[in-house]
């Protein structure tokens, strides 16, 4: 699953640490999500969208491989 968290974070000017604290996960986890090494749970996805004030689909997008 692709995401543009890094871009959204840059727009809001918040660090990985700040975002992690607001969501309630570790900074390492935010880093893993940004690097697309880890697809978070629905709860975390919804929290991220809520913080950025956007729809989930505006931040996360399915890839071809996710359907296989």
């Amino acid at each position: 699953m692709k995401n543009n968290i890094r871009v959204e974070r840059a727009i809001l000017k918040i660090s990985q640490q700040e975002l992690a604290e607001r969501i309630g996960v570790s900074r390492q986890t935010i880093n893993a999500i940004e690097l697309e090494k880890y697809v978070p749970s629905a709860t975390v996805i919804m929290k991220i969208a809520h913080i950025f004030g956007k729809k989930v689909e505006d931040i996360f997008a399915l890839e071809e491989s996710d359907w296989k």
Partner: protein, 163 residues
């Protein structure tokens, strides 16, 4: 959502202390004192081998059974120590750490099963009795090593990708 039970973070240190002290006692005992370090004592048991009428001891129930450090204390202390290390919360415990733990758990169960099958096939006689609890200790040890390595990599990967 209901969270999986884990011991508090401080239990990991307690686990390390219990495991290392037990292991050191065992290693130093084997190297310097041969069999003498393995002391005997009695434990209240549900099933024991107390009454020896024939060549083969008979089973007896609810007795004080004679046992030794290696047969009782060593596995119990090692299991307690390793369980505390393996199943304590991380400082930065969250869903990704749970994922890493789950992967390490599956990996170590599979490796342990292979080792157990080989041990069952290749070890017979009285030594076969020890295979099962040694294998369980091996599983815990394997899980601790795999999980700690993965967590170390996880923490290091972030440092490489500073914002």
């Amino acid at each position: 959502m209901k969270k999986t039970f884990l011991f508090p973070t401080c239990f990991r240190k307690i686990g390390w202390i219990i495991s290392i002290v037990t292991l050191l006692y065992f290693v130093i005992g084997v190297i310097f004192f041969a069999d003498k370090f393995d002391f005997n004592f009695k434990m209240p048991a549900i099933v024991g081998l107390e009454k020896i009428y024939n060549l083969i001891p008979e089973k007896d129930y609810f007795v004080l059974a004679k046992t030794s450090f290696m047969a009782t204390l060593f596995p119990v202390l090692m299991i307690i120590g390793l369980v505390f290390i393996a199943f304590s919360k991380e400082k930065n415990e969250d869903e990704y750490v749970s994922k890493i733990r789950e992967r390490a758990l599956v990996w170590s169960v599979l490796v342990t099963c292979v080792v157990l099958i080989l041990a069952i096939l290749l070890i017979y006689g009285f030594d076969a009795f020890y295979v099962f609890w040694f294998d369980f200790l091996f599983f815990l040890l394997l899980f601790v090593i795999k999980f700690r390595i993965d967590i170390f990599r996880f923490n290091r990967s972030t440092k490489k990708n500073e914002e």
